[in-house]
């Protein structure tokens, strides 16, 4: 192929019986939107780096997936996000870990790759770096989604051990 793009929105216990047709349509719509953004960039001669970043931003901005808005909650009721990016041309790479106020962590990962001498920045320092790069910083409440919160409360209430069925990527 001249160009190609592949995306994922997590793997886990995804059963047909848990999915109404409406829910399935909702997920496919966001996947389609993300795919189209990346495909469009590549079709017009853009770089794979741009395609990957812009595509992932769409998925991060959707509450359906466990990244960005829609991220799951930690035991203490926070959202902690991680992201990384790597360019195959020169093996350059960037990553952020445990950040809680960067709207699009994938863009922060790219900034780390391009504008720092490091590969991975974490926590508060990563956020400070993101600010210097002009990335959008948001209040923690931006990442709140009711269903993820309810799921955490359910887990905490039952004090149950995590099982493979609870892990969705």
């Amino acid at each position: 192929s001249d160009y190609a793009i592949v995306i994922h929105g997590g793997a886990g216990t995804i059963l047909r019986k848990d999915f109404t047709p409406e829910k399935e349509t909702l997920y496919k719509k966001v996947l389609q939107e993300a795919l189209q953004i990346g495909d469009s960039i590549l079709r017009n001669g853009g770089s794979s780096l741009d395609a990957v970043e812009k595509t992932i931003r769409i998925l991060e901005n959707s509450p359906l997936f466990n990244a960005g808005k829609g991220a799951v909650f930690t035991n203490s009721g926070k959202n902690e996000l991680d992201a990384s990016i790597m360019w195959g041309k020169d093996l350059n790479a960037g990553a952020v870990a445990g950040v809680d106020d960067i709207k699009n962590p994938i863009s922060a990962a790219r900034k780390v790759m391009e504008n720092s001498e490091h590969v991975m920045l974490s926590g508060h320092g990563a956020s400070e770096f993101a600010k210097t790069q002009g990335l959008e910083i948001v209040d923690q409440s931006y990442f709140f989604t009711q269903n993820r919160w309810d799921h955490l409360q359910e887990i905490l209430k039952k004090e149950k051990e995590m099982t493979p069925e609870d892990r969705h990527g």
């Binding site: 886990g12 930690t74 991680d82 360019w87 790479a93 990527g169």
Partner: protein, 133 residues
């Protein structure tokens, strides 16, 4: 977790992964997503890979880099290397999936779970969106 791999018209591969981590995690736990070589890897000489699943297992196996290394050192296809990586993951009790692209635009979407939200498209006009196994 979400991820994306892409091959552009200049032949450059990129891989990216972003995640909210594991529900109910504590103590600043970090999974494989931000760790280059575990959950994300790209090399124009071989492939681009993004992973999703139980991060501790992907870290221990260095899954993304392992697929690239198998292609380079064993001279096997992305398809074959990905199958071997998922087999290794399954053998130690890990669950999850990977997406990958090689320098020729060959696509893989592998998992050992019931499903994975995934999709692809290419310059041939081929496109597909899938959820279940």
């Amino acid at each position: 977790t979400v991820g994306c791999v892409a091959l552009d018209k200049d032949g450059n591969l990129t891989a990216g992964t972003s995640t909210g981590g594991m529900m109910n995690k504590r103590f600043g736990r970090i999974g494989d997503s931000p760790i280059i070589g575990a959950g994300t890897y790209a090399n124009n000489a071989s492939c681009a890979v993004s992973c999703t699943g139980h991060g501790e297992f992907f870290i221990r196996l260095g899954v993304a880099k392992d697929i690239s290394s198998m292609m380079e050192y064993q001279n096997i296809s992305l398809e074959e290397a990905s199958n071997k990586a998922i087999d290794k993951l399954t053998q130690i009790g890990g669950t999850g999936g990977i997406i990958g692209l090689d320098k020729n635009g060959n696509i893989v979407m592998k998992m050992n779970t019931n499903g994975m939200y995934r999709a692809y498209s290419n310059s041939k006009g081929e496109t597909e969106i899938l959820i279940y196994k």
